[in-house]
């Protein structure tokens, strides 16, 4: 119920209404279709009206059809129907290929109702009899347009269609304005649905790509049978018909080819003009460039990094080395300094010792003793270390004369003992080196030691197999291996080396060998008389002797011994001690033993000579 208006209330607008908003709706349902239809026609029918009209919807749809009278209709020449615009004739000039079958039928109906000769006759119009009336054109139009095949043929050559293709220069300027309508009007020839739009400058790569792939693969239904010059139906016989067909087919193919070329040119032109393609290409190029740059950059950086690392390493190494050197230098300096200090200290100490000793008059009473003591003190000065010198000096400084003397003497003794020890060690070392020398000379050039027996064997073998024997040295080696008791395997090379060595030996060495061989021979001969039982203790004796005398007498020692024997005659007191002192590395016992051996040897020789 509406309320009563209050006194003074008038019709008035008090506020503006909110503007409409846009929503996305689902494209389903009949109301959506109705809405679409209304929107397309730009009419605002209310729902109520639509509801009422629902039953009449079939008609209402047709009612929407708008016809435009073709002004020249009456002037049309029925003979020239082929060149007439069928859509215009039916009043559908504005709809053309978009007109539905239903609309065409409705339009035809309307035309018939208006222009049928009977109708006009009834209206009192003069009618030209026969086919010459313009109504024939209407009939022809419906005939063409109601047949899908014929209509397609006519649509294909639609006279209002603009076949032009924009040139490159035109397209360069404002690409989208020029090409969008061209593509739009050419899209009607496609057999496919969902025609991609040219889009805008902001279209994505996919959209553009899709667009061009659509147009490059354009599948057109356009055909040119409508332009056939000859009509098949007019032919009189089969042959003629065939000929016509052939002619037509050729011309159609030709036109179709032209059409395809046209489309191709259009797309090519568009493609070449398209600023987006250019942009994409540039983008791509830029992308590649940047990628390349980035790659190069990365590589360069890597290189730099490497270089830097290497430099750093080198630097570090250099620094370390420098530091080391510096340290070494410092250490050396320090050591030198220390050494200097020590030297100085030691000098001082020595001086101190000397003065102290001098002060004490070398603890001696007599001149000779003091000289001897002086010598000793000098020795002490030479030998003693800084620390012991210091301690000694301290003792000397603090102690009385007796104590000092005792201390000095003790030190002297110690030093002497040390000296003695050193001397012995030296002698030992010399002996050892000598023995090694001897051993090496004994073994000759070969790596493996050659003992006396083997040498004998070798000489024997060499004599047994004189030069010229086939594979002489091998044979010798074999012989030696067979007969050797040492168990060392010799090969030809060893043997040949040794043999050469032997040949090269100086006469002295030869003598020695000979002598040794003789000694051995003698020993063997002398050793023959004792029974086998004695062999063990004798060996033992030898072994014990070997303990004292590590090596057999060398010629040098022999010489020294002989010399000593001559220098120190029998009358000399402590003769053997002196001899031993002259022969280094030999004790008195050794020398005596050797002497006895020699005497026996000489005696034996003499006996032999006497016997001989």
């Amino acid at each position: 119920m509406l309320k009563e208006a209050v006194e003074g209330q008038v019709t008035v607008v008090c506020n503006a209404i909110a503007a409409s908003v846009q929503f996305q709706v689902e494209p389903v349902g009949r109301w959506f279709e109705a809405f679409l239809k209304r929107r397309d026609r730009n009419v605002s029918a209310s729902f109520q009206e639509l509801e009422e009209e629902e039953e009449l919807s079939e008609e209402s749809e047709d009612e929407e059809l708008q016809l435009e009278e073709y002004p020249m209709l009456k002037t049309l020449d029925p003979k020239d129907w082929k060149n007439q615009d069928h859509y215009a004739v039916l009043g559908l000039g504005h709809m053309r290929y978009k007109a539905t079958q239903k609309q065409i039928k409705a339009a035809h109906k309307a035309m018939v109702l208006k222009h049928h000769p009977d109708k006009r006759k009834a209206a009192g119009e003069q009618i030209v009899e026969g086919d010459n009336d313009y109504f024939t054109c209407i009939t022809k139009a419906i005939e063409i347009l109601s047949d899908p095949v014929k209509r397609r043929a006519f649509d294909s050559v639609d006279p209002t269609f603009d076949n032009t293709v924009p040139s490159k220069s035109e397209g360069k300027e404002n690409f989208f304005e020029v090409f969008a309508p061209v593509f739009e009007r050419n899209a009607r020839w496609t057999t496919k649905k969902h025609i991609p739009k040219l889009g805008t400058m902001d279209s994505t790569f996919e959209e553009v790509d899709n667009f061009y792939s659509f147009w490059y693969n354009f599948d057109s239904w356009r055909e040119f049978s409508y332009l056939d010059e000859e009509e098949k139906e007019k032919a009189e016989c089969r042959d003629e018909r065939r000929w016509i067909e052939k002619q037509n087919r050729a011309s159609r193919a030709q036109r179709k080819k032209e059409e395809m070329n046209r489309i191709r040119t259009l797309v090519d032109t568009a493609y070449s003009c398209d600023p987006r393609i250019k942009k994409f290409k540039e983008d791509e190029k830029a992308r590649k460039e940047s990628e390349k740059k980035a790659k190069a950059e990365a590589k360069r950086r890597e290189q730099e990094e490497k270089e830097r690392a290497r430099q750093a390493e080198l630097e570090a190494a250099r620094l370390a080395k420098e530091k080391e050197e510096e340290e070494a230098k410092q250490a050396a300096l320090q050591a030198k300094k220390e050494k200097d200090i020590q030297k100085k200290a030691i000098k001082k100490e020595r001086q101190k010792l000397r003065t102290t000793c001098k002060n004490w008059n070398y603890f001696a009473d007599s001149e000779a003793e003091s000289v001897k003591m002086m010598e000793e003190v000098e020795k002490l000065c030479d030998r003693l270390e800084l620390a012991s010198l210091q301690s000694l000096n301290e003792v000397l400084a603090s102690g009385s004369k007796e104590e000092s003397k005792a201390a000095v003497e003790k030190q002297v003794q110690e030093v002497n003992a040390q000296l003695q020890r050193e001397k012995e060690a030296e002698v030992q070392a010399r002996q050892a080196s000598r023995s090694v020398e001897q051993a090496s000379s004994g073994s000759g050039g070969g790596n493996k030691g050659w003992n006396e027996e083997e040498l004998q064997l070798l000489i024997k073998a060499v004599n047994l197999f004189p030069a010229g024997t086939n594979a002489r040295w091998e044979v010798i080696a074999n012989y030696m291996n067979l007969h050797s008791t040492s168990g060392i395997k010799r090969n030809a090379k060893d043997v040949i080396n040794k043999a050469k060595n032997l040949q090269k030996l100086d006469p002295h060495q030869k003598d020695e060998i000979n002598r040794k061989a003789f000694e051995k021979f003698k020993k063997e001969h002398t050793a023959v008389p004792p029974s086998v039982d004695n062999a063990v203790p004798s060996e033992r004796f030898e072994a014990s002797g070997a303990e004292a005398n590590t090596a057999s007498w060398t010629t040098e020692e022999q010489k020294l011994l002989e010399q000593a024997l001559k220098t120190f005659p029998v009358s000399t007191p402590e003769r053997w001690e002196k001899i031993a002192a002259v022969v280094p590395g030999r004790t008195k016992k050794d020398c005596m033993k050797r002497y006895k051996e020699l005497v026996e040897m000489v005696k034996a020789k003499k006996a032999a000579q006497e016997q001989g």
């Binding site: 607008v13 506020n15 503006a16 909110a18 846009q22 079958q101 309307a110």
Partner: protein
């Protein structure tokens, strides 16, 4: 201009038709419609279903195996391709050459996270070829590379065959449904697959809209506005959508998709239970054996279906593991217990979604159930509990709702001369606010009547016949606009006063025509029927 011409022609035609009545048009058209059949195809993640629109009704047709729903499974064996139930059953032995859930990677690039998920799950090897995923099929001698579109094409082809065998004639016109979240690429891929199978795709429509269309919501009386919840629990995904129906047009307000919940989750839960039962009785763990698990899954699937109608079901698997047969009874209560957390998870999104769009459960006027798993009684009960006063629409089997809706849309579109829709998304100018009128009820208190609900597509026109007490000599019509759902007036827009009326016995009949243009400007005309006195106002749009 066109409008004018239409008017002229209308006059002209009326004159013409009065001269010679022409009855043949409606007849011919009717014949035309009858001969043209159209189909709606729902191509889901797990199943595909086809419905035929014929003679004014849409019906799902059964396939050659007698099932109304065909598994969207394609198996490659030697030279042949098997689609449907045979492929699904053969999957136990031929898993590497069987493609399932192809829709998941359809139209996606290889790096797409969804596609990656599919690649990880698929037993059929998927390779990357030019950033597009491809299936690698081992055909014995050599490996074949198959694109997802080809697989989808085979499924579509199967659906086409199914429809053809039911119709007895060729059928090409089809409407295909797509999930709301599908992107442009995926839609194109689906369209290509359907066209590859020989369909003429009339339109791709969203699944929730198809569901609404199947029940004809808002199709009979196009006035008014309501909200509908579409609950779709399919094989692998759960989709909840809130839709606004306004003047017969549908609009998606919000949608939520969960790809981790679906019928398969329930089957999985049941299969796990069966496996533990088997372990309990035979001391063998079959969970590590894929073939045994697949057998169990199939058995669980059957049991699940049975439990939607019966109180208990028997699961029997011949020679499940090392020749041992498995036999077990599952009660519905047990099943519900096993899946209780899944049920909760399935219900959860509804509330969140309603909150998102700012609606309460009582604002929802209808709930549409779709997807096979929406059959589960417990789930229906839980949804009913959520919406105590709302009707749950499940008269059409839930897994057939979407194809039926698609078929209805196909029926609407077929025979139209220009059914193709260039734009995929249609934006429509809509009324921004509720337009209300103040009236007094019998007791004299103020009541507000909604003339244009917000969201009404524009342009729109409404005609109301208002009544005023006959005793009055003047009546006042007050118009308000308001935002929000509570319909409390916020702003007075205009008032229209009709004065100097002649008092009479009956009520004054005042015909009010309200027209709103696309920009939102309002034009109101009030005419008193008795005296012919009228008043009009035009309310401009706020700039």
């Amino acid at each position: 201009m066109h409008f004018l011409l239409a008017k002229i022609y209308k006059l002209f035609f009326n004159w013409v038709s009065s001269g010679s009545p022409s009855p043949q048009f409606p007849v011919s058209r009717r014949a035309f419609t009858a001969s043209m059949a159209a189909i709606g195809v729902h191509f889901g993640y797990t199943c595909a279903c086809v419905a035929i629109f014929k003679d004014g009704r849409a019906d799902v047709v059964a396939n050659d195996a007698g099932d109304r729903v065909t598994p969207a499974v394609v198996a490659y064996r030697d030279t042949e391709q098997i689609v449907g139930i045979a492929a699904k059953q053969g999957r136990i032995r031929n898993a590497a050459n069987t493609v399932v859930k192809v829709k998941q990677i359809l139209g996606r690039s290889f790096d797409d996270p969804e596609a990656q998920k599919h690649v990880a799950e698929s037993k059929c090897p998927v390779i990357n070829k030019g950033d597009k995923p491809r299936y690698e099929i081992d055909t014995g001698e050599d490996t074949k590379i198959v694109s997802p579109e080809e697989v989808a094409k085979l499924v579509f082809h199967k659906m086409k065959e199914t429809a053809q065998s039911a119709l007895g004639s060729d059928v090409t016109e089809a409407v295909i449904t797509v999930p709301f979240e599908f992107g442009e690429m995926q839609k194109n891929a689906l369209r290509q697959a359907a066209e590859g199978a020989g369909f003429n795709v009339l339109r791709l429509i969203h699944e929730p809209s198809a569901a609404l269309l199947a029940y004809g919501i808002g199709q009979d009386t196009p006035t008014g506005k309501s909200h509908v919840l579409v609950y779709k629990l399919g094989g692998t995904s759960l989709t909840v959508t809130v839709m606004e129906v306004n003047s017969g047009l549908y609009r998606v307000l919000a949608t939520h998709t969960d790809h981790s919940t679906g019928g398969e989750s329930f089957t999985q839960a049941l299969a796990q239970h069966l496996a533990s039962e088997f372990k309990r009785s035979f001391k063998h763990d079959v969970t590590g054996n894929p073939r045994a698990m697949m057998k169990l899954m199939n058995s669980a699937d059957m049991a699940k279906h049975t439990l939607s109608t019966l109180g208990s079901s028997n699961c029997f698997v011949d020679s499940l593991y090392e020749g041992m047969d498995f036999d077990c009874n599952v009660s519905r209560a047990r099943f519900e217990l096993l899946c209780s957390s899944l049920f909760n998870k399935s219900i959860q999104p509804i509330k969140a979604l309603l909150e998102q769009v700012g609606l309460s459960t009582c604002d929802i006027s209808k709930v549409v159930l779709c997807g096979g798993s929406a059959r589960i009684p417990k789930l229906q009960q839980m949804i009913q509990e959520l919406f105590p006063d709302v009707e749950l629409l499940s008269s059409i089997p839930p897994d057939e709702v979407i194809p039926v809706g698609a078929a209805i849309e196909a029926g609407i579109l077929v025979g139209r001369d220009s059914s193709s829709l260039d734009e995929d998304s249609i934006t429509v100018d809509c009324c921004a606010r509720d337009i209300l009128m103040k009236e007094a009820d019998d007791s004299g208190a103020d009541v507000y009547t909604v003339l244009f609900p917000s969201g009404t597509p524009l342009p729109a026109r409404r005609q109301h016949t208002l009544r005023g007490p006959g005793s009055l000599s003047s009546v006042c019509l007050e118009l308000y606009q308001s935002e929000g759902r509570n319909s409390t007036p916020q702003e007075k827009v205009a008032q229209i006063v009709l004065s100097d009326l002649e008092p009479k016995e009956e009520n004054h009949d005042i015909v009010t025509v309200i027209t709103m243009k696309r920009d939102g400007s309002l034009h109101v005309t009030c005419t008193e029927q008795g005296s012919g006195r009228s008043e009009a106002v035009t309310v401009a749009v706020a700039s």
